[in-house]
Amino acid sequence: MARMTPGHNERGELFSAYLDGELTRDEVALVGDMLDGDEDAIAEFHAIREVRATLRLLPEFEVPAALLPDGHLGDRLSAYLDGELVSLEYRRVSRHLVDCPECRAELAELDRARIAVRSLPGVDTGMTGEIPVLPARKRRRGLIAGGIAATAAAAVLVLGLGIGGADAPVYSLDDLAARHVARASAEPASAVLPAMIEVSAP
């Protein structure tokens, strides 16, 4: 299907939105078309990207403590736990957490409360009709890498801990590998030493 060709200004906005990750799949495809062999478009794209890269390398200033409740993150911690922060803000909150034991403690408290609430059983009010029941917290640990590790899912990688026996606790290398990969991805070096495919062990 033919796509519309945007004007110069629209093109700049499109590139900018693309770099912000705000485009739909169709719009991303349109950007791909525009960058395919159009030297002007490629030059403009690179110019926008370089300006943004320069801006990114400027020192980032923390939000002034006076603008935060008691100099801490407050209810942004809930948004952080709920995955509601956009990437840039997520990183800022992550950085603050590195240096702020109080916010880390508050985050831990929030997480415990969140788990407790999710573990509550549904309440029988005696009323008829459907009553929403809070879902129990899903056990995900063995499934984190499921998508990638599909081919290895059939492999027997379950380890018996302790001396063995039917009651011995078990976990899988897939699970541990996924945890390592996720944690390592917080390190800048993961951008040049990617470690994302061995979420399954042979």
């Binding site: 950007v31 791909g32 995955g83 985050l107 801990l161 590998a177 390592h180 070096a189 061995e198 042979p202």
Partner: protein
């Protein structure tokens, strides 16, 4: 149609010329890492690890955008970055790590910019990462995107231990971040560190987390390489793990290892604890790390025999 070019992998060998050595600022590596993290690209990446003649190779589709990498294709994919991992498909799951600290790679590594080159018909530059006087990593970085299109990690013997290279490449990518925002993450918070030393063979203990079934995950990094040490009390029959395990001996102590395209596992039983190390560090670093960790227990050998005989 997105721009796409195909690379003959063998061409990589000719691209890697010997670099002119010049001093560089210690924090240059951090700059390269930040730039690479912000790069936007997609394509297929081949990765491999070669250790003691055993080679493990894999290939994945990747899309990198806003510091997040989408690996695989819908519905079986994972999005990884910034301490978060989300995997899609039937077994949808998400985990997020809150970290304690940041380790500066400049403490151990320096960068020596190499020659301008060309990779898949695109202008690129070679970046050599030195550990002391020895080359440890060689990167080929795409000029226009700052994407690391090829990486080689060298062992102490000067041989390539690990490599990654893009075998096709596009400057566009689906914004991978869309796949993780709004997801319900299991959040992992650092816990108090236990008996382990704060530093092991140049690797800092950055943080420690609870792991499944009463085990713990200790995350170590030197700013470039990293590993997690999973520890649990009791004894584990590692030999039941996989037919692909490879015996491994360091200073007369016996371990088992598994070699994967972008990481290695080393596993053993020390007195009172089972340990599994997984990471991307090169073999000489692994040996140095193991030398400073609890050694394999000989008692475990008898337990292993017992286990095999009587279950």
């Amino acid at each position: 149609m997105m721009m796409r070019r195909v690379l003959v992998i063998g061409g990589l060998v000719t691209v890697l010329a010997v670099a002119t050595i010049a001093p560089a600022l210690a924090d240059d590596l951090s700059d390269y890492l930040v730039e690479a993290d912000g790069a936007i690209y997609s394509g297929r990446r081949v990765m491999g690890t070669v250790w003691d003649g055993v080679e493990s190779i894999g290939m994945v589709h990747v899309q990198h955008h806003a510091g997040m990498t989408l690996v695989g294709t819908d519905p079986d994919y994972a999005v990884i970055g910034g301490g978060r991992m989300y995997s899609g498909g039937a077994d949808e799951a998400a985990v997020s790590f809150v970290r304690n600290a940041h380790i500066d790679p400049g403490d151990r590594y320096t960068v020596v910019p190499g020659d301008a080159t060309d990779y898949m018909g695109r202008s690129a530059r070679i970046i050599n990462v030195m550990e002391g006087s020895r080359i440890r990593v060689r990167l080929i970085v795409d000029d226009s995107t700052a994407a690391p299109v090829a990486t080689e990690v060298y062992g102490e013997d000067g041989n390539v231990f690990r490599y990654t290279s893009m075998v096709d490449f596009s400057v566009s990518a689906d914004p991978a971040t869309h796949a993780v925002e709004g997801k319900d993450f299991e959040t992992m918070l650092p816990i108090e560190s236990g008996d382990l030393s704060d530093a092991v063979a140049g690797y800092q203990l950055v943080d420690m987390y609870d792991a499944p079934n009463g085990s713990s995950q200790s995350f170590f990094s030197d700013g470039l390489f990293s590993f997690s040490l999973f520890t649990t009390s009791g004894w584990t029959d590692w030999s039941a793990l996989s037919k692909n395990e490879i015996p491994y001996e360091v200073d007369g102590a016996s371990y088992v290892r598994i070699i994967q395209p972008a990481s290695v596992w080393v596993m053993w039983n020390s007195p009172g604890a089972s340990m599994a190390l997984v990471g991307d560090l090169p073999p000489d670093h692994i040996e140095q790390v193991l030398a400073e960790l609890p050694k394999p227990s000989t008692r475990a050998w008898f337990k292993r025999i017992w286990f095999r005989l009587f279950g």
